[in-house]
Amino acid sequence: MTDFLFQLVADYGTVFLFAVTFLSCLAVPVPASLLMLSGGGFAASGDLGLWSAVSASYLGAVSGDQLGYMLGRHGSGAFRGFEGRHPKRAAAFQRARNLTLTWGGSGVFFSRWLLSPLGPYVNFASGAAGLHWGRYLAWGAAGEAIWVALYIGLGYGFASRVGEFADLLGSASGLLSALALTVGLGLWLRHALRHHKFRKPTTRDTKTDES
């Protein structure tokens, strides 16, 4: 599958790079990071222009982010009607919204490049939570610059080892994102469990409070 996509980078060049970075911001499962590596490799060998590869990938990523944010923002109306009928759900959504508003800027920034598999979901959540558009744009554009420069730069600098970098960076980025999710969900679970205990006192009330 990756080979077929690499072939498309060779065939369609910068247009294809634009399309994959754009789609990857909308949770379409395309390995955009790896394809930028190969784009960097083709730039090093003279088959693609370095700056056209960089700008096409960057424009694709930033415009994909914008669409993801807009979808989250305008799609959230329907969701609000649904969660508003249920107080518990409304509280959970409010908590998610508060979390996004508190951590929004840096969350957007790091999910562009370090935790890039989480990126598209952060886009939808930022739009839905009503994160300020200017703030979202600034952090997002800065993060995407690092993402594009990192992968195209590595592909360019280590063109003869694109296969190696694709395997190692793909695993490392998956590992970091999955780890961040595990820790986040773990903390949330712990919080929910504690909350649950306080809300449902048993006869051994004092003991449960201590735990």
Binding site: Q7, D11, S160, S171
Partner: protein, 102 residues
């Protein structure tokens, strides 16, 4: 929520193991050179193997590397040459180049 937590944990394990496996695979000196793949272009192969692009174009018998990015798959399909043949000739030239340099 607990199901999501378990899934995220399993994904962490999966990527962790994958990272370790690939680290060992690529640490092996035998895997240092990329094997040829159909998506590679003649210029890309030349760059990877440290050869002049004209030499790779010569082995493939395509004249000058074309301005259009044709991939190895396309070129071999047209010329009827097999990937194994091309790989063998490329390895010979790389090896003789290394011998000349010594």
């Amino acid at each position: 929520m607990s199901v999501a937590f378990v899934l995220a944990f399993l994904a962490t394990l999966f990527f962790g193991v994958r990272l370790i496996v690939f680290t060992f695979y690529w640490a092996d000196p035998e895997h240092r050179f990329q094997t040829l793949e159909g998506w590679m272009t003649p210029r890309y192969i030349a760059h990877s193997y440290g050869l002049p692009p004209e030499m790779v174009a010569g082995i493939l018998d395509i004249g000058q590397p074309a301005a259009h990015r044709r991939t190895l798959d396309e070129i071999l399909r047209e010329s009827g040459q097999s990937m194994a043949d091309f790989q063998r000739r490329l390895t010979e030239i790389t090896a003789s180049g290394a011998a000349d340099a010594q």
